[in-house]
Symmetry: D2
Subunit: 329 residues, 4 copies
Amino acid sequence: MNSFGRIFRVSIFGESHGECVGINIDGCPAGLPLTVDDFTEDIDRRKAGAKGTTPRKETDLPRIMNGVYNGKTTGAPITIIFDNANTRSGDYEKQRAVPRPGHADFVASKKFGGFEDYRGGGHFSGRLTVCLVAAGVLAKRLLKEIKVAATIVEIGGEADTEKGLQKAIDAKDTIGGIVECTVTGLPIGLGEPFFDSAESMISHAVFAIPAVRGIEFGTGFAAAKMFGSNHNDSIIDNTGKTVTNHAGGIVGGITNSNDIVFRIAIKPTSSTPKIQHTLNVETGETEDFSVKGRHDLCIALRVPVVLEAVTAFVLADLMLLEQQISRII
Amino acid sequence: MNSFGRIFRVSIFGESHGECVGINIDGCPAGLPLTVDDFTEDIDRRKAGAKGTTPRKETDLPRIMNGVYNGKTTGAPITIIFDNANTRSGDYEKQRAVPRPGHADFVASKKFGGFEDYRGGGHFSGRLTVCLVAAGVLAKRLLKEIKVAATIVEIGGEADTEKGLQKAIDAKDTIGGIVECTVTGLPIGLGEPFFDSAESMISHAVFAIPAVRGIEFGTGFAAAKMFGSNHNDSIIDNTGKTVTNHAGGIVGGITNSNDIVFRIAIKPTSSTPKIQHTLNVETGETEDFSVKGRHDLCIALRVPVVLEAVTAFVLADLMLLEQQISRII
Amino acid sequence: MNSFGRIFRVSIFGESHGECVGINIDGCPAGLPLTVDDFTEDIDRRKAGAKGTTPRKETDLPRIMNGVYNGKTTGAPITIIFDNANTRSGDYEKQRAVPRPGHADFVASKKFGGFEDYRGGGHFSGRLTVCLVAAGVLAKRLLKEIKVAATIVEIGGEADTEKGLQKAIDAKDTIGGIVECTVTGLPIGLGEPFFDSAESMISHAVFAIPAVRGIEFGTGFAAAKMFGSNHNDSIIDNTGKTVTNHAGGIVGGITNSNDIVFRIAIKPTSSTPKIQHTLNVETGETEDFSVKGRHDLCIALRVPVVLEAVTAFVLADLMLLEQQISRII
Amino acid sequence: MNSFGRIFRVSIFGESHGECVGINIDGCPAGLPLTVDDFTEDIDRRKAGAKGTTPRKETDLPRIMNGVYNGKTTGAPITIIFDNANTRSGDYEKQRAVPRPGHADFVASKKFGGFEDYRGGGHFSGRLTVCLVAAGVLAKRLLKEIKVAATIVEIGGEADTEKGLQKAIDAKDTIGGIVECTVTGLPIGLGEPFFDSAESMISHAVFAIPAVRGIEFGTGFAAAKMFGSNHNDSIIDNTGKTVTNHAGGIVGGITNSNDIVFRIAIKPTSSTPKIQHTLNVETGETEDFSVKGRHDLCIALRVPVVLEAVTAFVLADLMLLEQQISRII
């Protein structure tokens, strides 16, 4: 549902055009230094405004409501809220008759009996990813020497992302992309058999990010074309380092001390300026339709810091779990 | 850890060369007909013996220990056990000095301080997937008109899978493949915001299957190359049917009544007959090494029924959760 | 930790003298009518101001931040916040040297390494029970015809509670009491074997209320003195009604359609005006000490509505769980 | 449902007259020595045969199916099974028409639609407590210097338990009792705010034991009659030791280094030899009825070791959780 994690446990809430969006983090150890300024860098990285992103700009100032005292975490739950200042609900209300293709509008209305807050995608909005980024800031601090870094590696099939973005601008359409995440400085042993493999936990959190269509670890789908003798990573020393890293740092669901490397596929923004032919639920007929409002041309551009965040809180949780079990004897 | 699911909850246990492997299923409604014979078809589909699979043959006879009375589920937990009859531990004991590349041997030893049951991969063995199949049989029964079907679509990059397999036989090596899963007959509304999207839950369970390296839903990684106007699926009627199905049946993390379609990448079997050069943990030096024992040439061949099983129990759980919330008002 | 419930899931946060206290409720069905006014009655019942209660008065105005739109729940998480307006931290800061006997001060400082927000008990404060009341309001609405009612049945050993309270006033001391809760209109079948018996779930939540020292269902501790032939409740008809109700409405952990009846023991308020002799952690010596600040003479007076609330959200959760399982076949 | 615990997680299964009962323990650290002999003492303490207990005797030989290799835990789940050898189902089958007063028969039939295994109480049988004892043996080992000890302190209202038992024998009836549990050697800090207080977790597990009607910590219900100045425990040194222990070792839901002391009320065995007048569900009329089969005169006699067990696995889980959080910084 809206919570994730066994020990370092995040709970997300809020809607795009409601009063606020926010996140609650339970299970964070006491004594971690944390100020509002610590959030600035990552929240700025997620912000709109660059070429290809929406002109909707939020101040995105995190309000730490609880769990921090005298600049340090207290061990109590930490609630961080972002007010929704810049909402233009008028853009959306008329659109209920025509559920936007590629959006949750139609399924949300069916699932919640029409009671959902439909404005701007409501609880399904990408707006909520700012909360993930906030949880990520805290998780990164907990991870210390473990570093998580994500970057766009492809837009519209082009490794030269500027070129890929230009294709969308030229076509007056939206476009997809691929984001790669690398984690360095990992110990051996994160991930729990049988169901909570490192890949299971990461992919669980990753598919909560809107617009993700696929994930692959290490050599990924290319591994399906390989021979075993080429794919296996030979171990070279007792720290677990391997000659190659086809496994992407995870074997048997457990980190093996090599870098975690994985890629995710981001679909093109659903809200394209192009005319679409789709159902009007009031008339029961299909009709031509175009999305109004302010949107990202390439939502992948804003994903890297979000991807880092979910990866960080997954690893923080696995780290807390591993330490407790391994240290007891 | 070793349990998965919120209501229809499975817990797996056992080791490759221990007394048995098994699974416990909690939260299954009472009154479902269930006999040992119901397991035969799916368990046979997973069995070894066909070209490209291991010569190790288990009888794989499920023993229903609890939770079924007079041929029907009772509402109490259901425990299903498979005895390990055909074990040849001698194959494995000598191999401890050289952790097999691509296997969990090395990380398991580090994580569990050398106390792990290392014989045949122990708790990390693919042997445990027979338990997943058993849980899948029960979940499929619960799903009724919802049908889950998986099939190999590629071996070694060849859509003609016989051809792909022959490449491995010729090369005296192991080889990877791709398995596709399709789910038909779905209602709208399975999957829970924010973290328990249908993709999140499916991928969580899928990455518990050994050897999975990637997953993509609908158009998947190809979506990253597309324009929004091409990728969006226009809705054509009030049942939610869409013209195309690039989304793979899931929008906003929620099923939209179209077929769920997803593919997973399976790496080549790690236990290749080829010589590998890797670490001997006792000498601290790398050396030439080859895997002994009985293994699958292409583990992907045995994955489809396992993939169906995990998909089925994920959907059974989401269905139970959805019904309870939607029916209360 | 700070969350409770499987489907109807509450997460509590905040500190006595921080910015606010609040609660997040996940898993609440969509379409329930809910306005700020719905909270007034129960929140007023918890309020201080009556004889024997603290003079600290909060406005206790709930702010519904999310999950409600056009006066109805949306199916998304509901966050309710209470601002902390009336805080006088100066009362508490000096007291760190002398952890208040009967309070969490000492253990909190040890557990959280001195990083806890110690002002007014911080996250351990009874102030947080206003959040429980808020969750209870929502749960009661979901329970519909199931009614939960709690009342004080004893103060200081006196069934005449005015008399019991007067003993405390005369003694210039604080005093304990007993609160009884009755639930009517229950269906058969709430509670889940083995670990989530109705008593297990209720007592789990009840012991989260500060100052609770015991709980007994039905005849309770008196049952330990009885013969079986006197204690057993004979069933009289197919609705499950029984002649007597020694079981307190729960048999085998499952509701049996009779009223749930249970009692809880509330210790005397720890913050007594009396002089106490206890440790000064700075000097390492024991010394005479008296509690400053504004406190309840008999905290039991404020417990009934809190007890109703936790009982209501436990039953709401069990009801959601039960419906899902029973309706599936 | 049938699992309990966050990290040290037990899952129980089986029925009184099915093939076996058993328990699965996940999250147990690797490297703990464990043999079948380790179970003997506690399982013998639970066994029937003494005065006042049932003549049904099981061999109660635990079979460790998984998770132990070379006499040590491996870090994988541990499954322990007890075969049901000595079953006499004939005793029970005729009794379906008349649900036994005080038993789960009636509610189980309603909850599970008549599909429940009704023989000997099925999944509701006290037989399953042997599984709790087994989990307790493992938990006690993990707790090391923390010692858990329970004893009967009262039968039928008599502190001289032999006298209390004689009352039942004389009356040809069953009788209730009180069991007290003491835990010594505790560190400060076990228990988690807000909902997972030490009392919450212990009482949750305790009410899973059949026949428990109440629980009180420290001074318990007597605290409701006391003044604050008498009830508060003054701290005397920096280890947290207090002059008195009215709190029963737990303040603010957190252990305070003093002994945990709590008592539970056990109702008289429901299966009394006395004639009872109750519903025949087939005729719809009430009738005279007496319970057949082999039963305990005073079930409280067999509870102490079961109570120790659940207390031990609750504390093991809280200890694992606490260590993880406190050690991370």
